[in-house]
Symmetry: C2
Subunit: 363 residues, 2 copies
Amino acid sequence: MPESPGSTSGSPARKGARQRRVTITDVGAAAGVSTSTVSRVLNGTARVDPELVRRVQSAVAELGYRPNAAAQGLARGEAGAIGVLVPDLSNPYFPDVLKSISAVARSHGRRVMVMESDEDPASEPELAEDLMRCCDGVLLCSPRMDRTALLDLTLRGHPLVLVNRIVPGLSTPSISADFYGGMTLVCGHLTQLGHRRVAYLSGPESSWANAERLRAFDAAAAFGLDVDVVPCGHTARQGYEAAGTVPDRGATAVVAYNDLVALGAVAALEESGVRIPDDMSVIGCDDISLDDLPASRRLTTASLARHELGRQAAQRLETLMTVGGDTEPLYIPMELRVRHTSAPPALRPSRPATAPPGLSTAD
Amino acid sequence: MPESPGSTSGSPARKGARQRRVTITDVGAAAGVSTSTVSRVLNGTARVDPELVRRVQSAVAELGYRPNAAAQGLARGEAGAIGVLVPDLSNPYFPDVLKSISAVARSHGRRVMVMESDEDPASEPELAEDLMRCCDGVLLCSPRMDRTALLDLTLRGHPLVLVNRIVPGLSTPSISADFYGGMTLVCGHLTQLGHRRVAYLSGPESSWANAERLRAFDAAAAFGLDVDVVPCGHTARQGYEAAGTVPDRGATAVVAYNDLVALGAVAALEESGVRIPDDMSVIGCDDISLDDLPASRRLTTASLARHELGRQAAQRLETLMTVGGDTEPLYIPMELRVRHTSAPPALRPSRPATAPPGLSTAD
DNA sequence: CTGTTAGCGCTTTCAC
DNA sequence: GTGAAAGCGCTAACAG
């Protein structure tokens, strides 16, 4: 058994005092070669005499040597890691994205550092900067910070790619789900079903993705779809709470900022005796947990290949770090998944009791 | 506007060529002080003349200087980060844990590096080692690797704490949900409702947490509860698929490895006309998304304060890294949440077709 | 209080 | 093919 240096007794030192780590010098000494040779065999940087290779390898094994990542990083001028900043880890949206980012990064020999801003736009710049300090590149997911802060970061000259936020005029590689297109699909679907007035449970104010959805509603007005925007949020609970006010607003369908909100809305509506989709259609966004959460199989939603988004984002960052960036924003298309929570509006649209037959009463 | 060094023209260099980063030396030069002084004002390591402080600070701002993390790490002998290894990021279980780990780590000035093993026990040791190379301490969440591999890692003398896996004889700080206690609560609940035979949709073979649950079932046998173990897995889809076979097995209740599996089972059972909880009780584990997923509000489950688990785990690691470790395993208690998917068994318990009148017809 | 001087552990020219 | 030596950017004694 290789004796760990610094502790002569066999008892595992569990003290705070750090036992001296094995360094490349130790390996060199043990193998009777220079540190450069050790480095060379470990990195395959140059041809080395097979005999020496053997000696080095066995010394490495003997001593249990592991290169110090910080030292490598300093010497190589590369951290070997990329950073990812997300607003909220508990949103099922991100793990999927993270998963593929992580896979791509690994395939390029990089680790992934994750930070979460807790949906607080003000904390983002600092976190992002911190990521830049210790990573070769960073992915900003759905950043909520304002334009100027964002601009500021991009000017640092550090590899950076924006995910789910496209800022016109920013020459930073960006990639996003096509929320506008996705919501347009949703609006079209509802319109064709016969809905004329829908409530939109709106996401975080600072969310660009939310703004994109709103833009789609504006356009949908031309097709006769009237959208009532209800401030809500991004969690199921917020959807649950906001949904309570919907039936009174004369809407026959509710579109939610995301699936979580939609699920919350469904729960609230059903609890108050509203049948879905008979009395009210509910449509989500994101298609959370494709093949994992059976509950979500029922929700009509705008679906996004999150793995694809993550993969492309990571790939784009890698490209940026190595050969240089492509500035053209990339949109990942969304698809409409018609499932069980959307249907034509009820024959008697809900109207305030005072209204004469046939006239719209929207205030 | 501070001119970035290396690019004389104003155009933001987006090339692959790394522009020379501003170093502490540059700052020292600009402020007319030594690098040590710069270091001191930046770290608050010692008192510095207010005038110099001012000069340093403005030089820092002017130049847009950010300390290089690798260099700091090397010089300080500390990476300023902790690593977390989880089997599967998409499991809603982990984001919550990660969230609080992340918060605690931050409060101690450390970043968090996340890696995922994709439920592949064989990949874990390498990932864990990699984390050790670049982090001051690591958290192994629900490690699937075998005892020896685990033992091997703990012997490296690198701060390490085990989460959701207690290995007797390992003097490594460990912390876990009390799965045994949780499942015991579940068994007691079912028994008191009158159930005598339940099916257990079993989790990953290599999961210690699953083994703990099984241990609870063994004990429950003494109370007359007969548990039929059905190999399943950890995803909703696997729960969906495994649930199909349950009604034939004469069980009046199914206990699932986790809530995801339970949700899958509920979906499958309902689809095949089984009423829940009237015909069949379904109980989960983990209490996924406490206040976020309304769907889960309906599931009777063994609940765990995941944030607490994460917090304590991170705190324990921090303690280990600074003052030394406490080797006594810590168990976080679980609570039974009785909701809408558990009830007394149907009056006519399903029995094989040979039974006298009142027989169930399940094939 | 401040500057000088050594390294931290590794990679990488540059000679041999 | 291999070793010696310089240096990545920062911190931390150590003198003044």
